[in-house]
Amino acid sequence: MKRSVIVDVTARLILPSALLFALHLLLSGHDRPGGGFVGGLVAGATIALIFVAGGMDDVRSVVPVRPWTILGGGLAVAASVATVPILLGNPVMDNWKLSMDLPLLGDAKISSALVFDIGVAAVVIGTIFMVFEAFGDEEPPEFRGEVRPAPGSGQRPEVES
């Protein structure tokens, strides 16, 4: 595909700050506006940005994991936060909190709500990624060398990969 220098450079400039903002939303979600869903959306928007700049190949090279792994992993984390307390005899989605004194940051708290939010963010990112994976390619997926119609049987013309 044809690349545009302006879009390319802008995307590279915006990318780190957008990701940092997503992280900020995710972490501050516990007591201020934000949270896993919004953070995930902003992080997902960066995927859209990379896609606009460089197409699906760029997205795949920037994000090392496959979309369904992100989605499944996130759902597993979120569902575990809900389920594990029940197995321990506590109410569903029961909260736990871990306070510690970190150098530089001072008093830091990690609660199960944050873990849940991280799971939610991963589900959102995974879903957005999957949408691009499904619709973003210029050629239909079966022509990417995975399933190739046998010569002669073709309802569709064969495409060089």
Binding site: W68, T69, G74, A76, A82, P85, N90, P91, V92, D94
Partner: protein, 487 residues
Amino acid sequence: MTPWIALPAVLPLLAAAASVLVGRSRTAQRIIGLGTLTALLGLAVRLLIETDRNDVMTTQAGGWVAPLGITFVADRLSAIMLLVAIGMFLAVLVYAIGQGDEEARHVGFHPVYLTLVAGVCMAFLTGDLFNLFVAFEVLLVSSYVLLTLGGRLAQVRAGTTYVVISLLASITFLMSLGLLYRATGTVNLADLPAAMEALDPELRRVFLLLFLGVFGIKAAIFPLFFWLPDSYPNAPTAITAVFAGLLTKVGVYAMIRIQTTIGPDDTVVGTVLLVVAALTMVIGVFGAISQQEIKRILSFHAVSQIGYMVFGLGLLTVAGLAAAILYIAQYIVVKTTLFLTGGLVERASGTGHLDRVDGMLRTRPLLGMLFLLPALSLAGVPPLSGFVGKFALVDAGVSSKSWVLVGVSLAVSIMTLLSMNKIWAGAFMGEPTANAEATSPLPTAMVVATGVLVAVSIGIALGAGPIYAYAERAAETLLPLAGSSAP
């Protein structure tokens, strides 16, 4: 506080996540799906026993006390619905694995199916109207995906209708919730009866009708049923079975909940329900008689039969409610079985169209039995489970002196028998046509799953006494609890 009652709502989600992660291996997905549903079945049995001992069990999500927290509640009605639903999900999953079509082709089948299970379980266990909305959304979003798996043109077209109707219902639901919260300050089902008392009786009735309308769309009652016979038959067979057998009944369940919570003594709404019930029965069965394809006939019956359940609810008596609960429980089994058998016929002959298949009884006698028993049961022929349900309903109707409704329901039963006879005569009797020849054996898993469901429905007929007693206790918890707050 009994935390474990929330487990059926979250465990399937965890399993869905695992199912996504092992997406490459269909065998692993199958083990996860079957294992989770078996575990849930065990939980549902435990819930059935324990709710009978304790009446009502609750747990608060995150330990936050209601009305701030989200309450999970299990009573006898939830327990009986949950048990039947999970039993269906398990049987249909076995059937789908045996069939192999969409289940084998799509990596997404198992995760989405498990998410659907989570949504249905959450709907039965929630004690909070807003959470009921969430549960509906979870199950609807999964159903959108399952309905269009395969992506055939007819599926996408039917799916569009279904999505638009469902979204319309969801928006109405959400707006009604907002109004209710503004008016009463709570959406917790346990707090609502007391909070509603402060309201004007007319306003109370408006709320009741709003919610009944919303759930009526999901339950496909007259005149809100038009989307169902169009969208359901186009889904993969196993999915149609779950949708027609179960999803509309989640709507009926919600109608029962809302009616007993905020309008247990509203006889005006009760009468409206009775009229709607009669029309639903009649129009549904007329639709069924005029169809020529097995799945479409059965879909119209799904509408018609909803009328019977609403009939039981509309009587607003313990006997009527108990009959409705018994009817739902047995009907879910019977209807799912019929769709599964319809799928077997299509599998065996390549078509579900009655003009193009004949003489299946000669070539596949077992299939004939698998169809005959639930079909007669649906029509209410003794001693099958449909008879037990209809008998309880008619009995309740007679003691409430609803003669018209009793007459209509009996007439509709006869017409149901007529249209079942149409499938019987069309597909099973006569000389075998070429495509009815028993060329290839049907997959064992499909036949076994259908057979087990037929056995379960016979079991319901045999154990009708204790099951009706249980349903009656369920109805007693529902009505006096809400009735105590009556003005």
